[in-house]
């Protein structure tokens, strides 16, 4: 369903953000793209969706190339991002209707899906209120619904739990379970390793733009010799980044 081959992105004047990353995600699979801040996770997602042009390499969704047929790719992908906002002066229902239109979903189907998603994500009570009056958690729920309004086979989730409280995070977990049940191909970018371990079927450990390890938890345990993702993650980092420099600071 998602195929990434030797994907590379070089920003002029900066280091290479992504270096020849290759991985595949099958239908019904939840793939965790893990790595510290600046590892190149978000850049990889943006290239898969065709929002950024790769310097080299290739990303495909349902065999459509993200550079050659970006609209076909976009039509098949739902994007959830922690930085995504909402239209302040519209209600959740109007936001969903607008995005339904953008994805050319028939209005009657938009109405039907809005009702289903409002029930699923529990925003029936405030679906006609202006988005500017909603709390962060409520906005996130609307954004989750927005990404599903065209019922895409592929979901890309970029730091979906960032800034959310316990209730908000639980909503995200339920949401991902739901996507799993819907047989969608899902990529989650996060550095919340405990969450990833709980939600994902397979993992890709990204560091400084390179995919260092890839596989199921069991495969990763075998290849790294570490028992959990946190240890694997720390193993990737140089000691200078993880050591607490008490002596150096003279404390």
């Amino acid at each position: 369903m998602i195929s990434v081959e030797k994907l590379t992105k070089h920003f002029p004047g900066r280091i290479e953000a992504v270096k020849g990353v290759t991985f595949h995600v099958e239908k019904g699979e939840v793939y965790g793209l893990l790595g510290p801040n600046g590892a190149g996770k978000t850049t990889t997602l943006r290239m898969i969706l065709g929002l950024l042009q790769p310097t080299s390499g290739d990303a495909r969704v349902s065999s459509f190339h993200s550079t050659e047929a970006p609209d076909e790719v976009k039509r098949r992908v739902g994007l959830v991002s922690a930085s995504a906002g909402l239209y302040q002066w519209l209600s959740p229902r109007e936001v969903l209707s607008f995005f339904g239109d953008l994805y050319a979903v028939p209005p009657e189907l938009v109405a039907e899906r809005t009702a289903t998603l409002a029930h699923l994500l529990r925003f029936e009570q405030f679906q006609d209120r202006r988005c500017s009056t909603l709390s962060t958690g409520q906005k996130q729920r609307v954004n989750l619904a927005r990404a599903l309004i065209h019922d895409p086979p592929v979901m890309l989730l970029d730091e979906p739990t960032r800034g959310l409280d316990v209730v908000g995070r639980q909503t995200i977990f339920n949401y991902i379970d739901h996507l799993h049940g819907q047989n969608k191909a899902v990529i989650i970018c996060t550095h919340q390793l405990d969450e990833a371990q709980r939600l994902c079927d397979r993992f890709g450990l990204l560091h400084e733009g390179e995919l260092r390890h890839e596989g199921t938890l069991q495969e990763l345990q075998q290849s790294t010799g570490c028992s959990d993702l946190v240890d694997m993650f720390l193993q990737l980092l140089p000691e200078s980044e993880t050591a607490f420099p008490v002596k150096a600071a003279g404390l």
């Binding site: 239209y87 607008f98 047989n183």
Partner: protein, 727 residues
């Protein structure tokens, strides 16, 4: 939600792009109109500003009328110098009566003109105002405040005030003229009353009154304190730009700031489609703002009774309202596109504001142009952005707008709007703006690394919008070089054709890294296609000729307009005329209209829609000839454009169309060359006749055969095939 595999495309709604575009625009509009900041600019500003402005204006007006020493002197033209004295005597008497009445008046606050010092009246005879023409001309131009025709009614009368008939001409649009009218009316009525009362006392019941007065309103030309024609463009410019600023920023830079832009760009909608919806919303808000402001301003002006400062008779006509609305649309169309283009570059509200403030200041300069005397509209100014709308507005309100310049203004303004939108489409939502990747402005000129086989629609529209002002600028140049011989000028006009229709698109193709062979459809075609095109080329002109003949008398007034030019051109050798007027323009036009433009249009439109749009644009380019508008050419040229477009789409090449076009032009040229011989046969422009029916039958057979051959020559070539063939 339904279980599915990769069936997303099955749920895609195909109810048409237009309803969806309207819904997208409505969403933008709804969002903007709900924003308090829009409401503030749209409604509260006019409600707060105009009452305050009204008070200030009223005080200014009162001060001006009371304190202006010039108002204390009235200039009055009189037709009969012999009766001067009788009138002066009667006015002196009237003034005395009014003064006495005023003295008796108990109300010390009386605001009659007599409460102040008596104005001075300077009488002029017909000879004194000779420089201004007649008395009536003097009144119209404002040289005199009143024109009075005096007629003695009873030459033998022995009364102190013998009866006279006074026909007083006044200008309702001039406050000075109106003050003078009131002054005369008051004194003549007072004098009449007292004179008649005295005569009645003396028993002269049948006596005529000393003054039989009538008033005639004469429209002035420059008597208003503020010229509507000069003021309206500035007001409309300010109102539309004010209305467009906030939504333009909010719908572009605002999208990025609130984090909605990424989701918008992640949707499968072309960026230009999103921008067009935003453009419609910005334009509507700009129009609404201008309308609310205009209504508030007009109400205020009427409310404080200053309407005659702006409108001569104090009544806004439907024509004025219609003109104001049409001009508002033009201003809004221009500003909405330009503002959107600029704000598309901005990553934040602050950055957008920094871009727009200089634009608003620069825009004031053309607005002031209308207030400057001596600036006349010409073909150059008619394509100068914004200046053209301002001058058109001024000329429309002064009643001397030129239809050619008006058409050029409208076309070029929408062209500039398209240009600005195409520019915005290149940058809005790009990763440079979305994620702050390096380089924004430079990206616009950087050719894409990957070569494109065909131009995108926005590149084609961009090229067209650039082409129109250049067409006006360069197209008229050879004709103006009158010192050169006609042959040289003709040769120069071919160079201009090539530069315009070949050079400009080629330059753009180079900049956008478009493959020339496929981007211009310079593809091989089947010999049958050339044969079919040749048959169409030798026959289609007959229908075009008949259409032009049917809808206009081409040899009458129109022919006279070009008679001199035609005479000059006829002195050139036939081969030169054929080369310069038939072959070169045909090849150059095919290169652009069917090559670059039609191919670009086809990237977003269905073949037939693309053919029709390119044909209408082709027709419009043929309407403007030198400094004239030839609307009769629109239909025939558009129909020819449809035929050429069809041949191009059918054969996948512009080469057969070039042959068709050359033959068509060549036959028209030969028709003109041998018009005398044809006239002898009863055919031709001299007789204003259409071609005989048997000509048309033969032509129809040839055209039909040509179409059949083109259809037989092969099938349609689409973009994917071109891409495949070039790979």
């Amino acid at each position: 939600m339904t279980e599915h595999g990769d069936q997303t495309s099955a749920t895609v709604h195909h109810s048409g792009r237009l309803p969806r575009a309207v819904r997208l625009a409505l969403k933008e509009l709804r969002e903007t109109l709900r924003d308090r900041r829009t409401i503030f600019t749209l409604v509260l500003m006019p409600l707060l500003v105009y009452p305050l402005l009204a008070v200030a204006l009223q005080r200014f007006a009162l001060t001006r009328f009371r304190g202006d020493p010039e108002m204390q002197t009235f200039f009055v033209g009189v037709n009969a110098s012999r009766q001067f004295e009788a009138m002066k005597e009667l006015m002196r008497f009237g003034s005395e009566v009014v003064r006495l009445q005023s003295a008796q008046n108990a109300d010390p606050e009386a605001t009659s003109s007599t409460a102040d010092a008596e104005p001075e009246i300077r009488f002029f005879g017909q000879d004194d105002v000779a420089e201004s023409g007649t008395l009536s001309d003097g009144l119209k131009s404002g040289a005199i405040d009143l024109a009075i025709e005096i007629e003695e009614l009873n030459p033998g009368s022995q009364h102190r005030f013998p009866p006279h008939r006074y026909k007083i001409f006044h200008n309702p649009g001039s406050p000075r003229s109106q003050a003078a009218k009131r002054f005369f009316e008051e004194r003549l009525v007072a004098a009449n009353l007292i004179a008649l009362r005295n005569r009645l006392r003396r028993g002269g019941a049948n006596d005529q009154p000393p003054a039989e007065t009538s008033f005639v309103a004469t429209e002035g030309t420059s008597t208003q304190i503020v010229s509507l024609g000069a003021l309206i463009p500035l007001i409309l410019l300010l109102m539309t730009v004010t209305g467009a600023v906030y939504p333009a920023i909010d719908l572009t830079a605002g999208e990025r700031e609130r984090g909605t832009m990424e989701m918008l760009i992640a949707a499968p909608v072309p960026r230009i489609g999103l921008l067009i919806a935003k453009y419609a919303a910005v334009m509507i808000v700009a129009l609404l703002t201008a309308t609310v402001n205009l209504v508030a301003m007009t109400t205020t002006i009427y409310g404080i009774g200053l309407e005659k400062l702006l409108v001569a008779d104090g009544v806004l006509s439907l024509r004025t309202i219609g003109l104001v609305f049409a001009l508002t649309v033009l201003f809004a169309a221009f500003f909405s596109a330009v503002l959107l283009a600029l704000t598309s570059f901005a990553r934040s509200f602050k950055e957008a504001q920094a871009y727009l403030i200089p634009l608003m200041l620069v825009s004031l300069a053309p607005g002031m142009l209308a207030l400057m005397p001596g600036v006349e509209m010409n073909s150059l100014l008619a394509i100068a952005p914004l200046v053209n709308i301002v001058l058109l507005a001024r000329d429309l309100f002064e009643g001397n707008a030129n239809p050619l310049f008006a058409t050029m203004t409208v076309i070029s303004t929408f062209g500039y709007a398209a240009l600005a939108l195409a520019l915005a489409g290149r940058i809005f939502g790009t990763d440079a703006i979305l994620y702050g990747s390096q380089g924004t402005w430079s990206d616009m000129l950087k050719p894409p690394e990957e070569q494109r086989q065909t131009p995108q629609i926005r590149t084609a529209v961009f090229c067209l919008a650039m082409m129109f002002p250049l067409f006006i600028l360069l197209g008229n140049l050879p004709g103006r070089l009158e010192s050169l011989s006609i042959s040289v000028r003709l040769a120069l006009s071919s160079v201009v054709s090539v530069l315009l229709f070949v050079g400009v698109p080629l330059l753009l193709a180079k900049i956008r890294n478009i493959r020339v062979q496929t981007g211009f459809r310079l593809m091989k075609a089947h010999p049958l296609a050339f044969a079919g095109a040749a048959l169409m080329g030798v026959s289609l002109w007959t229908f075009a000729f008949n259409i032009v003949s049917l809808i206009t008398d081409i040899d009458d007034e129109r022919f006279a307009q070009f008679a001199g030019l035609i005479e000059q051109v006829n002195q050139s050798p036939l081969w030169l005329k054929l080369a310069v007027l038939a072959v070169v323009p045909a090849i150059a036009e095919e290169f652009f209209f069917r090559g670059f433009l039609l191919t670009g249009l086809r990237s977003a439109l269905s073949p037939w829609r693309a053919i029709v749009v390119s044909a209408v644009l082709f027709g419009l380019f043929h309407v403007i000839v030198r400094d004239r508008l030839l609307f009769e050419r629109l239909i025939s040229s558009t129909m020819m454009g449809v035929a050429l477009g069809w041949v191009c789409v059918r054969t996948g090449s512009i080469l057969p169309g070039m042959l068709l076009h050359v033959l068509n032009n060549g036959f028209f040229m030969l028709l003109s060359e041998y018009k005398d011989e044809l006239a002898a046969m009863g055919i031709g422009t001299q007789q204003q006749s259409t071609l005989p029916w048997y000509y048309l039958v033969v032509a129809a057979i040839l055209t039909g055969t040509g179409i059949a051959l083109v259809m037989l020559s092969g099938r349609r070539v689409n973009d994917s095939e071109i891409a495949a063939s070039s790979a």
